[in-house]
């Protein structure tokens, strides 16, 4: 490792590389914060440019975008209840209530600290014990993935609403929406209702924008702006303690941050999962472990820390299978794999032997990106918070124009814009009837993994579901699932009893 270190330092520390990381972060934060744009699309658009850069610069650029984009979603999630990226959906649940209480500054800062620390630890783990973790990740076959998906879905359904049945209903509906189109195994078409555009299934980006951004637009337009000057989404408190995270608060959340980081690394290292799942599982774990579970969903600082640390720790985790096995875990790392290949770096077991200098230079890039992330996000904070001083009458029409453009451009299709409106209405109705929308999104995201791993499990076991209980890792998740449900029911009972006493 150390033989590569000195040449790697020389390789990385050039003005160009530093600049490229900073630009990547800046672009990432921006597109992450805008509901109509997403990280995979941006990374793909930047791809041809990276072909003409040095390998270290090209990869650093994408890493900057990846990290910035995963973080950026939290800004709009906190400020206008509109996650710019799926990973930030869990951040909404407590971030927006905090902003409503005037604590937008505190929530944004918590999201920066959580993201940067989560990323930093995940990067260190990647640099030191990546290959060991990858070996564990390989143990996850179809059966283990199936029980993990079930665990994640149950967690999300249970934690995202006071009303468990409604959370479960939303999750089931989400999985159902995913079954529309071609099935992931044989490609036979389902529920297309004769609509040609639906054979591709329900497109993800319009679904996401509709469910979160457009539904929020409808919620906002319910009430007319009376005083155009002062009617804003949420006023920012003038108190210093509402805008900063105190050392005491930080110390109280250290356990949450560490726990979420570990969850993020673990989930990131498993190909096919991703940052949204990690954010929700971290959030659920934090709620179950918290001394104040009743505050979750009503502006809990712990909730913001858990969700934001959980989703950014995935960035480091997802690079583990990419670098050690050449297996990309999500759409973004899949594109990064392309960049590695273009520069003649073949990810896999012999990558560190063959191109150690470059890889360690990339590792240095990861750490530097971390430090820059902290400064860029902190500087940007003052700017972002200005969003809250724009009148709702201007802000939300802007959001809707960007949403329409974003939904259209993902596949250059008008049909997708209608899909967006449909999910906007659905999301609005769900919000009105206290059905949480996040489980619907997660059901949609996990639906195909659920189906493929179910089919694979049954094919390999000749039609038996027994392996779920006989394989140790899988059994662990089954036990965790049961524990999670029982524990959260106990917490809820206790909360009710406490309320009754008062």
């Amino acid at each position: 490792m150390f033989s590569h270190f000195i040449p790697a330092v020389h390789l990385f520390f050039t003005i160009q590389n530093l600049l490229v990381v900073a630009i990547g972060l800046f672009v990432g934060v921006t597109i992450g914060a805008i509901p109509g744009l997403n990280v995979p699309m941006t990374v793909a658009l930047l791809l041809p440019i990276t072909f003409y850069m040095s390998p270290v610069a090209g990869i650093s650029l994408l890493i900057g975008v990846y990290k910035g984009g995963t973080y950026g979603g939290s800004i709009s999630a906190i400020l206008i209840n509109t996650p710019g990226a799926p990973a930030a959906a869990a951040t909404c649940m407590d971030g927006y209530p905090m902003a409503k209480q005037g604590k937008a500054g505190k929530a944004l800062r918590a999201s920066i600290y959580g993201s940067v620390i989560g990323e930093f630890i995940a990067d260190l783990v990647l640099i030191t014990i990546a290959s060991q973790i990858a070996m564990v990740a390989l143990k996850f076959g179809p059966t283990e993935k199936l029980s993990l998906v079930i665990f994640a879905l149950v967690t999300i359904g249970v934690v995202s609403s006071e009303h468990k049945l409604k959370g479960i209903a939303a999750g089931l509906l989400g999985i159902f929406f995913r079954t529309v189109g071609s099935d992931p195994i044989s490609g036979s078409s389902r529920f297309t209702l004769g609509v040609f555009s639906l054979i591709g299934g329900i497109p993800f980006l319009p679904h996401l924008i509709g469910l979160f951004a457009v539904s929020e637009f409808f919620v906002q337009i319910e009430s007319k702006v009376v005083d155009a000057q002062r009617d804003v989404v949420a006023p920012v408190s003038k108190n210093r303690e509402d805008n900063y995270v105190s050392w005491k608060e930080f110390k109280q959340n250290i356990v949450t941050i560490i726990r979420s980081t570990l969850i993020g690394i673990g989930i990131g290292a498993l190909p096919g999962s991703g940052s949204a799942i990690s954010a929700f599982v971290s959030y659920g774990a934090a709620k179950n472990a918290s001394k104040h579970p009743e505050k979750f969903g009503k502006g809990s600082l712990e909730g913001v820390f858990a969700a934001e640390t959980g989703n950014n720790a995935v960035c480091g985790g997802a690079l583990i299978p990419l670098l050690t096995l050449g297996i990309p875990g999500d759409a973004i790392t899949a594109i990064m794999l392309g960049v590695f290949l273009v520069h003649g770096l073949i990810p896999g077991p012999d990558l560190f032997v063959k191109s150690g200098d470059i890889i360690y230079a990339v590792f240095i890039g990861l750490i530097v990106a971390n430090i820059l992330h902290f400064f860029i996000a902190s500087l940007g904070l003052r700017l972002f918070i200005k969003l809250l001083s724009i009148s709702r009458a201007i802000l939300f029409p802007i959001v809707i124009i960007i949403c329409v453009a974003g939904a259209f451009t993902a596949n250059s299709s008008i049909f997708d814009v209608y899909v967006m409106i449909f999910f906007g209405v659905l999301g609005y109705v769900m919000k009105k009837f206290n059905f949480p929308v996040a489980p619907l999104m997660m059901g949609y995201i996990l639906g195909s993994l659920l189906e493929t791993s179910l089919v694979q499990t049954l094919v390999l076991s000749n039609g038996s579901v027994l392996p779920i209980f006989t394989r140790p890792i899988s059994l662990l998740f089954v036990v965790l699932t049961v524990f999670f449900v029982v524990w959260s029911l106990i917490i809820q009972k206790r909360g009710r009893a406490r309320k009754a006493k008062l």
Binding site: S186, S188, P397, V404
Partner: protein
């Protein structure tokens, strides 16, 4: 017997009916590739989902009759309903028009309509946002990211 909770009743019925519709659609809306001998057919998951959704719907129905609900749940204010309906229609009109008139022109028009509908009355503000916002978004997508947006008759 106590009076059923109307809202919960409605929610339960909606979910149960929805599940019924899915079950009804399963045989006609799914095709099968004949030679694929997998243990699970494309019918399996949707059917299980529909049954599960129905179960949740029935459970909600049951709650409507036996439980004292209301605590912890926000009321459902109907006041803004009409405004939302109008804005849904406006959004559909926007989507209908923008492939024909082009993104810039349509967005300009609807930016104005939406800000006005939201309650802004300052001519300067509305006018500026009508011009600035679509141009910025357009520049961002088309010139920076090179993703084409529809062009219309005029521009």
């Amino acid at each position: 017997m106590r009076k059923p909770h109307i809202r919960r009743l409605g929610e339960g019925i909606t979910l149960t009916v929805l599940a019924g519709v899915i079950l009804f659609l399963v045989p006609s809306q799914i095709d099968r590739i004949p030679g694929m001998e997998t243990e699970v057919s494309p019918f399996f998951l949707p059917t299980v989902l529909a049954v599960a959704i129905m179960a949740v719907g029935i459970a909600l129905l049951a709650q409507a009759f036996r439980k004292n609900i209301g605590e912890g749940e926000k009321e459902f204010p109907m006041s803004g309903g009409l405004r939302v309906l109008v804005s849904v229609l406006l959004l559909i009109a926007y989507t209908l028009l923008f492939p024909r008139l082009g993104f810039l022109v349509t967005s300009g028009i609807f930016m104005g309509i939406f800000t006005y509908y939201f309650g802004a009355r300052s001519i300067l503000k509305i006018g500026l946002s009508m011009l600035l916002v679509p141009v910025c978004v357009w520049l961002f997508f088309e010139k920076l990211f090179r993703i084409p947006l529809p062009h219309g008759l005029i521009f």
